[in-house]
Amino acid sequence: MNMPKSIDDARALLAGAGYVAGRDLATVVFLALKLGRPLFLEGEAGVGKTEIARTLSQALGRRLIRLQCYEGLDAASAVYEWNFPAQMVAIRTAEAEGAADRHALTEELFSERFLIRRPLLEAMQPQPGGPPVLLIDEIDRTDEPFEAFLLEALSDYQVTIPELGTVVAAAPPIVILTSNRTREVHDALKRRCLYHWVDYPDFDRELAILRARAPEATEALSREVTGFVQRLREEDLFKKPGVAETIDWARCLVALDAVALSPQVIADTLGALLKYQDDIARMQGSEAKRLLDQVRAELGPA
């Protein structure tokens, strides 16, 4: 599949792989591909940030390389590492053969053969199908030193291995960074990227997403589910349900053979939607019924 030529192309590309994107998101995706810039996606958990990378790799036929961030992530797990056990064996073998030319041994030990490539280095290598999609997931979980390291890697698409030299990507990978905003990522890193805040979708788009992702749910049920979740997001909750939760919930309801929402069904399956005890306690009982009645009243004429 070729690179999209316009914003409409980009939107069609995502839609073709089952991702319903708004015009705003399609624009930044198109720009990121066209300008070869990293794409920085920020938003609440479960609004489909990671899914964009997965969809792009699938739609463009590129390999997806994922780097999951965590606190204390270091170069050894993000870029490369030497295969020390294999190196030890090589040393012992060289000794046993008695041909321990020190210079040659060094050359051999620090060659590509003993190099373990981690996601960032892997993404710089040529891949079948073209430059890969590099997903740096939940960058907010890592710490400042790693962010600073990423600055170098992402601005020039190169990493330095002291023993081997600098590895430069032949063609820059498509880089997508995501953040849940549990802390502010430094501006210097954001500045090198195209930024997009992924918001909760509106009713029509969420319904379209649900049709694409949970086609087994009936139209009537999908409408009610979408309406209820949209209404729920207006409530004062500690953690509002994301799109991922909506899809999960619809699948739960289908698995329970529910054809329509009822207060009882909602109470039984609320755990798929809300993940904090305070929120669940709030929504139990009459509150759910009240919301459901409102949703029914809004959807009624349609």
């Binding site: 316009s6 914003i7 015009r23 705003d24 624009t27 930044v28 198109f30 720009l31 066209k34 300008l35 810039r37 920085f40 920020e42 965590y70 606190e71 204390g72 992530l73 270091d74 050894a76 590492e81 030497w82 020390f84 190196q87 030890m88 040393i91 060289a94 000794e95 321990a100 020190r102 041994l105 060094t106 030990l109 907010d140 979980r141 710490d143 030193p145 849940n180 905003r181 549990t182 802390r183 502010e184 501006d187 954001k190 500045r191 195209l194 930024y195 997009h196 805040w197 004062d236 500690f238 305070d278």
Partner: protein, 419 residues
């Protein structure tokens, strides 16, 4: 690097210039936009084409906005700026009703106000030769609506200043650090450094003589202070803000970052203001930001706002929370306060309550608010004078070890036992 004017753009370079002007308007409205971003934006507009207004909007937004809160400002500046290419004349038109004062403008959203002020400033500069009343009138219209109280920080007594300086001088908060997952070379460490070992081995021709070891690095936690600035706390809150300013600005004092919030009837983030070097400037800026000085207290509602809007953003990496309040709550039901305290306690690594009322020996937790807060804090400390602040420093460094207190117990334990 290509200058904006060098690039082939539609409209004979006019668009590039307009985008540069637009970036300047954004900058004045408080959205940080660098020159590199402008070049990026021109490229982006070239790539998307200049046919659809929506595409143009999203392309510029992808380049200029890097925080969700800037989106509203961006939208307003965009709306005002691109409504008409001749924006200066257009802005004059926008200002006219304000100058006349005839028709009261509809209440603008805060972002709109900033956007309009930023553009109004540009207009004021453009018409400087013709008298500057325009600017004055415009800004007055905007600020006169703020009827909430300001606080005057200039009346700080000499003694108070001296106290503050002393506190700053002594302020070395030796916090117990958190073990990080990063390591450093340490001969007494517990993690083998295979790479270092191999390098050492190569130096001696392949013989592994010793194991190079590494130890875990330690990192400092963040400090999040939530400070009550209501009337009943007015004597203490200023001094405590001094304390926080010192904590925020002392390098190597043991905190990775200090986030500060004030609350009375509403929650305000003053972190940015506390970063100013000069303590008076910082407190004056914080005073302008927080408009509810010495008013009532709604602890439950403010903690709810904190939990909803901030806790996931500032408490993620093992932060220690200082809650500074006397616990005298008005108008809220204790049920809710208790719920919000529980949520805060669950989100924070450690929750320390500073209460100036603890200065009286006979203090017992009678007020409803205090009884709602007490079960959910880890430590309960006085904070009415400098000595108690020093105790606080000791408590923070201990983090878990009980200090010597009159009853031999943590005050909190004592109060809970008495209930």
């Amino acid at each position: 690097m290509a200058r904006p004017a060098d690039r082939a753009v539609p409209d004979g370079g006019q668009l590039a210039a307009n985008i540069a002007h637009f970036a300047r308007a954004l900058r004045r409205a408080g959205v940080p936009v660098g020159t590199g971003r402008v070049i990026e934006a021109i490229r982006a507009v070239e790539a998307t084409g200049f046919t659809d207004r929506g595409d143009f909007y999203y392309s510029l937004m992808a380049c200029f906005v890097s925080r969700p809160e800037h989106r509203a400002v961006f939208a307003q500046v965009f709306r005002l700026f691109w409504r008409d290419p001749q924006f200066l004349e257009q802005m004059m038109g926008l200002l006219a009703p304000l100058v006349r004062g005839a028709n009261p403008a509809p209440e603008p959203s805060p972002a709109e106000r900033r956007a309009a002020e930023a553009l109004a400033e540009a207009v004021a500069r453009a018409v400087e030769g013709e008298g500057t009343e325009v600017e004055v009138d415009a800004t007055l219209t905007f600020s006169a609506r703020e009827t909430l109280r300001h606080v005057d920080f200039e009346q700080m007594s000499v003694a108070e200043l001296a106290d503050a300086r002393r506190a700053i001088g002594r302020l070395a908060l030796p916090v117990r650090p958190i073990a990080s997952r990063r390591t450093r070379v340490d001969p007494r460490g517990r993690v083998a450094d295979w790479r270092g070992t191999m390098r050492a081995a190569l130096r001696s021709g392949g013989d592994v003589e010793r194991l190079v070891l590494r130890a875990r690095r330690q990192r400092w936690p963040n400090l999040v202070a939530i400070c009550d600035i209501s009337g009943s706390m007015s004597v203490y809150s200023r001094m405590l803000l001094h304390f926080l300013h010192a904590a925020a600005n002392a390098r190597g004092a043991g905190w990775a970052a200090v986030h500060a919030f004030t609350f009375g009837t509403r929650l305000t983030n003053i972190t940015r203001h506390l970063r100013q070097r000069d303590v008076d400037d910082a407190l004056a800026a914080a005073g302008r930001e927080a408009r509810d000085w010495e008013g009532g207290t709604r602890i439950g509602a403010c903690l709810h706002a904190f939990n909803r809007d901030w806790s996931r953003r500032v408490l993620a990496q093992g932060a220690v929370v200082l809650l500074i309040t006397d616990g005298l709550d008005r108008g809220d039901d204790p049920e809710r306060l208790s719920r919000e305290m529980q949520r805060l306690h669950l989100s924070a690594r450690r929750l320390i309550w500073l209460n100036p009322l603890l200065r009286w020996d006979g203090f017992t937790p009678k007020a409803r608010g205090i009884r709602a807060i007490l079960p959910h804090v880890d430590t309960f400390q006085a904070c009415h004078d400098l000595a108690s602040l020093e105790d606080l420093a000791a408590a923070l460094s201990g983090l878990g070890e009980a200090p010597a207190s009159p009853g031999g117990l943590w005050p909190r334990v004592r109060f809970l036992a008495e209930r």
